[in-house]
Symmetry: C2
Subunit: 299 residues, 2 copies
């Protein structure tokens, strides 16, 4: 089955101890889409401005990503400038221009409306809810968010969390959302709001998946080539949702595998700037990394 992603498509300028990339392809929907497209068909809803290079649109198409829902509007594309230092665990945002993404009201094209697996990448919770309402028959709707919405749109966010089937957050967000420092208790608190699963991403420390009846904890894939962490979380979600859509069913077993595929896709993304490494990745190396992850964690 295909997976639908609604989120940002951006031009990023990123500086890390390993170099700098200027106005390169970024955005949550881009990372998610590139990662998920290794597993299944992807439909993308997003917005870009007049300055968005055609070559990126071509790159999406070459990955088999359906960009019917990627609209071009007058104005400039969403731009983010950030920096990572030291162990690169936290992005420092230096500059943001929302541009056309600021007033974006996503419309799911008619041909996407029977989408069964839907990922609502980070956006205002009201916008995510609006998308939710356009795919009433979806089997699995999963949402990401960020600290800004937890602080400023808490009520709308809690309402959204009550509507979706899955939530993907990082450890800081899980703590901030629930006021609970212990991550397992924080995850349980989120589950009480409604979703059937919650994934807590912990960057270089791996991830945790909690459902009402199970818990799974995985370390990050131990790559030594971390050059730019941008997009790791969205690539994680892309691998996860891509695998679930490919399986066509959401069980404790497929969710656990999905967590592992998410782990692998994130590990590929961080090895180079922008979507370069992800664009060069092949199914075979994804399976190799999965097998390696299995060996590394085996007791």
């Amino acid at each position: 089955m295909s997976v639908l992603v609604v989120g940002s498509v951006a031009l990023d300028t990123v500086e890390t101890p390993f170099g700098r990339a200027e106005a390169v392809l970024g955005g949550s929907a881009s990372y998610f889409g590139f990662a998920a497209s290794l597993f299944t068909d992807v439909q993308l809803v997003g917005v870009v401005g007049e300055d968005f290079p055609d070559e990126h649109i071509q790159a999406f198409r070459q990955r088999g990503i359906d960009v019917t829902g990627l609209v071009r509007q007058p104005g400039r594309t969403f731009r983010w400038t950030g920096r990572y230092q030291g162990p690169m665990s936290v992005a420092e945002t230096l500059h943001v221009e929302l541009n056309v993404f600021g007033d974006f009201e996503p419309v799911v094209p008619p041909q996407y409306q029977d989408a069964e697996f839907v990922f609502l990448a980070n956006a205002a919770p009201q916008v995510q809810m609006h998308v939710c309402q356009q795919v009433p028959d979806a089997r699995l709707v999963v949402a990401d968010t960020m600290n800004f919405w937890i602080e400023n749109e808490r009520e709308a966010l809690l309402e959204l969390v009550g509507e979706v089937d899955g939530v993907v957050v990082n450890d800081h967000e899980a703590r901030q959302l629930t006021g609970e420092d212990n991550l397992i208790l924080a995850a349980r608190e989120i589950l009480r709001l409604g979703p059937i699963f919650v994934v807590v991403k912990k960057g270089e420390h791996g991830s945790m998946l909690a459902t009402k009846t199970s818990l799974c904890v995985l370390p990050a894939y131990p790559t030594t080539e971390v050059r730019d962490p941008t997009g790791a979380g969205d690539s994680f979600a892309g691998g996860m949702m891509g695998h679930l859509a490919r399986c066509g069913e959401v069980t404790n077993a497929t969710l656990r595998e999905a967590l592992a595929y998410g782990t692998v896709m994130a590990s590929l993304t961080v090895e180079d700037f922008s979507l370069r490494r992800l664009a060069a990745s092949r199914n075979e190396e994804v399976e190799d990394r999965l097998a390696e992850l299995r060996r590394l964690t085996q007791l």
Copy 2:
């Protein structure tokens, strides 16, 4: 086979969001000893002052810990006062009195000198080296350290690392010791100094074991009852060394199991103040947690 630990025995005053404990039994050798004694015989070398309660000595004996090497000297016992806040990932030291531990020159009693498994808990690297020389026939000598020695006794510490068979450090220490932010590269850098294995403890994020030919990464055991993290690292080392001594051999397989036992012992320690939870733990629940850890990480 038995395991010998040389390190601090202390009276700790600890405050966490879950309560406060005043002048309770602490110290690296105490935590290590209590944890290791669940697996094998333990011999302890340390020093206490005149104020050290006899009941703690009895508690060691009740765990089957040989305290022939625990000397009592004129003066007061090593005292540490610390506080943990929020997610309790970092201890804030409020007060330290080294007291009798300050001038401690550990002497391994004659009846311990054929010890085959030796743990040098955190101390000045010169002191650790001095112990090392007293057990020339040991099969496995493992050392812990801390940021203070990395900053102030770097040369002596590097020399010690070159002498021992294994090193146990936390993530900050691994980075600080090597100047390498990527933990896998940091671990490899430490291996280049001489030891056959290095364990990097990451608190709530689990641990990593690196040898020249293998890597193992484990999450922390997901306890929801974290009340006081004091001693988690030393309990980890105790579970690890205890299992290795019980097996009597150090292979990639036993090291991997040892990492899991260390994980379990740390998870018990943090569930209550001082050594209370560790003192109440039984082999059966250790095996239960190990089985649970296996399930949680299984792919």
